[in-house]
């Protein structure tokens, strides 16, 4: 049993799981309780299906993008534009769908998925091509496209909020047989994206090549790896993930605007890094990225549940991010020092 758990999570991810569970226990103990309107039972303010799925839903929009981001970071790059890709995909999809208000629901949904993901892929591809061809650091390229993509969303919507057809909301808010106030779809999408991302990184040749390019781009080149295609692909994946997240988020909330997901890129990068991705490249995991996103949302939730002063939310999250990364680095430095010394 323990062996199975070990093979599922690395030591570091296990640490994250433990911290998340601890945070959950603390919140359960101190949250207090209320009477549920639907059932009439007394339920814990934290440990109840509605709150838990709500947390999972909040997490999913970051986490889906964090899975893509972790691949960019593994390749030793960075993508600041994912929040803007989210907004651009969301509003362009919404604008196009407005022309199809009378189309059958299934076609609306399919068109929405294709548009949102397609726009994400195209935006990511442009990022990737520029990173490879222009020889400018991805930080600068994606800083530029962050504003360009956001600007496109702004100009096309004239800063107005755009409604999406109900068919999309029906899909994103499907109960799937659960109680009628529980919406598990975003969570399931997040889990699917995480599992697919983890399998891709760990089991496929392409995933291995991303690690190699991020670990040592020169050695990867000397090993005959298609560097440019690999680098481009991670930005495409990050764009695709932003597109998926945009579809789920927009459908869930029923509308989109050019201001959607602004500032998300930093949460997403933080999630990937808290999840063990190294900005030096060559290190990171999809499961870790999802857990990192979950931890950040949990901390936010804890501030509310425990009735702490909400004004301190940013300070607490900021400190938590730095502390978790410092702890992680400290442990790897210790391990490396042992290795290096052992060599002498």
């Amino acid at each position: 049993m323990l062996g199975k758990v070990k093979s599922l999570f690395s030591v570091q991810q296990l640490g994250l799981v433990v911290i998340i569970l601890l945070l959950g226990v603390v919140m359960t103990i101190f949250a207090g309780s209320h009477v549920d309107r639907l059932s009439g039972h007394t339920v814990n303010n934290f440990l109840n299906p509605t709150t838990l799925i709500q947390i999972a839903t909040d997490t999913s929009f970051f986490a889906i993008m964090a899975v893509g981001m972790t691949m960019v970071i593994i390749s030793a790059g960075i993508d600041l534009s994912v929040g803007s890709i989210y907004a651009m995909s969301a509003v362009l999809m919404s604008l196009v769908l407005q022309k199809f208000t009378h189309a059958p629901p299934f076609e609306q949904v399919m068109l929405g998925v294709i548009l949102s993901c397609g726009i994400g892929v195209v935006a990511g591809f442009l990022n990737g091509i520029m990173v490879c061809r222009l020889g400018v650091h991805p930080f600068i390229i994606t800083l530029g496209t962050m504003w360009v993509y956001r600007g496109i969303a702004f100009v096309t919507t004239k800063a107005m909020s755009i409604l999406v057809p109900d068919s999309l909301t029906h899909v994103a808010k499907a109960n799937l047989g659960l109680r009628r106030d529980l919406f598990p779809v975003p969570m399931l999408v997040m889990l699917t994206v995480t599992v697919v991302g983890a399998l891709f990184l760990q089991k496929t040749t392409w995933g291995r090549r991303i690690f190699a390019v991020g670990g040592n781009i020169e050695a990867a080149k000397y090993s005959g790896l298609p560097i440019n295609r690999i680098l481009t692909s991670v930005y495409v994946i990050a764009g695709l993930c932003a597109g998926i997240s945009a579809f789920v988020g927009t459908s869930f909330y029923g509308s989109s605007s050019s201001g959607d997901a602004s500032g998300y890129e930093l949460y997403v990068i933080a999630s990937a890094v808290v999840g063990g991705a190294s900005l030096n490249g060559g290190k990171g995991s999809a499961v870790g990225a999802m857990l990192g996103a979950l931890l950040i949302v949990m901390i936010r939730q804890a501030i509310r549940t425990l009735n702490l002063d909400q004004n301190y939310e940013w300070i607490i999250i900021g400190v938590a991010i730095v502390v978790s990364v410092v702890l992680d680095r400290w442990s790897t430095v210790q391990a490396q020092r042992h290795l290096m010394r052992a060599r002498q």
Partner: protein
């Protein structure tokens, strides 16, 4: 003569390994004392303890008759012991003078006194007979000059003992000769030198005594005078060395696999033409900067300005990039294993399978069993010393990392192997194994193009030699032409 430095009962343990145990050593003032041993024998650790970089767990160090304890390199420097590091520890963006004065910047009031800084640096540099301009940016100097700056810094701070850790590992032959000359001069001025190296020739050239370490213990300390190479090697590895320098079976020469006509790259090398047949090991001789590495990199498609005609097995090929070069049957074992050879953040297994992932996967999904057995096969064939194929490649010693790079290209199974400095920084035992392997590859019918700055290595391995000088092909020699004739061609002496 009295010992300037005496060490007894010195032990140092790192997690998982006893680096040194009960080391006893006396170093005579004004002598040049060599520390030798295979990789992992503990010679570098010993040097670093003497320089205050590591602190011993047990044991005494006596310097000039007094017991000393160094808590850090600064303590050792102020006592008079400086180290010239294997990997240079400098701020490459600063000037020579700034680097030299970094620990103790001269000031005028609250401002930096640049004039004084330059004056001091000039004095130090001239004391070792160097005329490097102190206002030059350090990173612009070649490695050999950066090393001189390091030596000048040590001498300038009044070092009585200088510890050299593999100082010639990144120098050309001529530069190495100059450095050895400088060490002789320093010795004549009364500076005691401790010389950590793999290179037997250098030890015999400049050292008076040699202490051989094996597995963290002192095997013996002997005078170099009257010592034979064989007995020194035997002391180091504790067994007889498979005779790597002796005569070998002739490898039959097969068909022409590689033909190069008028290959040139502006600023790197002028038109060269040569060919390599199956079963041949063609040595590319030349001093550093002669264009040898540039030629093999161009053949591997890493030079976009190259022109000329390259024919593989009678078929002309274009040199577009490593992917295409591998497709045509080229494999490159690069000079710089840490930067070009390995991805140090990955395991040994992952490094070996990297160029051949397609062979161990189906539809893009890696088959773990296939990957393991492929990696294990070449891992064993190369006799890489590591706990397992899942060990981190960063944790392996230089020799084992080099074996891993070779394993990687064995796995790739290419017909033409471009081998660049295969044994730089590798210990004697691993070196002999690598030599044996290169011969085996030729015997299997591969064409090998070998670049090496180690002339004895080149002469013992190569079945034919091509000599380069300053980007020009200056001559072709048969096997075993004798060291002198090659040197003459390389250096351009008639």
């Amino acid at each position: 003569m009295h010992p300037i430095l005496a060490v007894s009962g010195l032990s140092k343990r790192f997690p998982g390994v006893q680096a040194l145990s009960g080391v006893r050593l006396e170093i005579q003032a004004g002598s040049c004392h060599a520390l030798m041993g295979e990789n992992g024998a503990g010679k570098s650790t010993l040097g670093k303890i003497l320089a205050g970089i590591y602190q011993p767990d047990e044991g005494n160090i006596q310097f000039e008759g007094h017991a000393v304890q160094f808590h850090g390199p600064q303590d050792a420097v102020s006592a008079g012991i400086s180290m010239v590091h294997q990997e240079l520890l400098f701020a490459e963006n600063l000037t020579v003078a700034e680097n030299l004065c970094l620990g103790d910047l001269p000031r005028k009031g609250m401002w930096l006194d640049r004039k004084e800084m330059v004056r001091r640096a000039e004095g130090w540099l001239s004391s070792i007979g160097s005329s490097i301009d102190p206002t030059q940016t350090l990173g612009e100097l070649p490695i050999s000059k950066q090393q001189l700056v390091q030596i000048a810094g040590g001498i300038g701070r009044g070092a009585k003992v200088l510890i050299f850790d593999e100082p010639t590992s990144s120098l050309s032959q001529a530069e190495a000769q100059k450095l050895l000359e400088l060490i002789r001069e320093l010795k004549a001025k009364g500076v005691t030198c401790i010389y950590v190296s793999h290179r037997l020739e250098e030890i015999f050239a400049i050292c008076d005594r040699v202490t051989v370490l094996r597995d963290g213990q002192v095997v013996d300390t002997v005078d170099t005078n009257g010592l034979s190479r064989d007995s020194l090697v035997r002391m180091m590895i504790g067994r007889e060395l498979a005779a790597s320098m002796e005569a070998h079976e002739e490898i039959p020469v097969g068909e022409e696999l590689l033909k190069v006509e008028n290959l040139s790259s502006p600023g790197k090398f002028e038109p060269v033409s040569f060919s390599v047949h199956a079963g041949e090991i063609v040595g590319l001789a030349g001093l550093v900067g002669a264009g040898r590495t540039e030629i093999v990199e161009a053949l591997f498609g890493l030079d976009s300005h190259v022109s000329g005609k390259v024919t593989v097995k009678g078929k002309p090929v274009a040199l577009r990039g490593p992917i295409q070069a591998m497709h045509e049957g080229f494999g490159l074992i690069p000079e710089d294993r840490k930067h070009h050879g390995l991805v140090l953040s990955m395991t040994a297994k992952e490094n070996v399978s990297l160029p051949v992932l397609d062979l161990v996967s189906s539809l893009g999904v890696i088959e773990p069993g296939k990957e393991r057995s492929l990696a294990q096969k070449f891992f064993d064939q190369m006799r890489v010393k590591a706990p397992s194929i899942d060990a981190s490649s960063a944790g392996l010693s230089g020799g084992n990392q080099q074996k891993l790079v070779l394993a990687k290209w064995l796995a790739a199974d290419t017909d033409i192997l471009l081998v660049d400095e295969p044994t730089r920084g590798v210990d004697v035992g691993a070196k002999a194994e690598i030599h044996g392997l290169i011969r085996d590859l030729a015997a299997q019918g591969k064409a090998v193009l070998l670049v090496s700055s180690d002339l004895p290595e080149l002469l013992s391995l190569a079945t034919r030699l091509i000599v380069m000088r300053e980007g020009h092909l200056v001559g072709e020699l048969p096997a075993n032409p004798g060291e002198e004739s090659v040197m003459r061609l390389m250096a351009g002496v008639k």
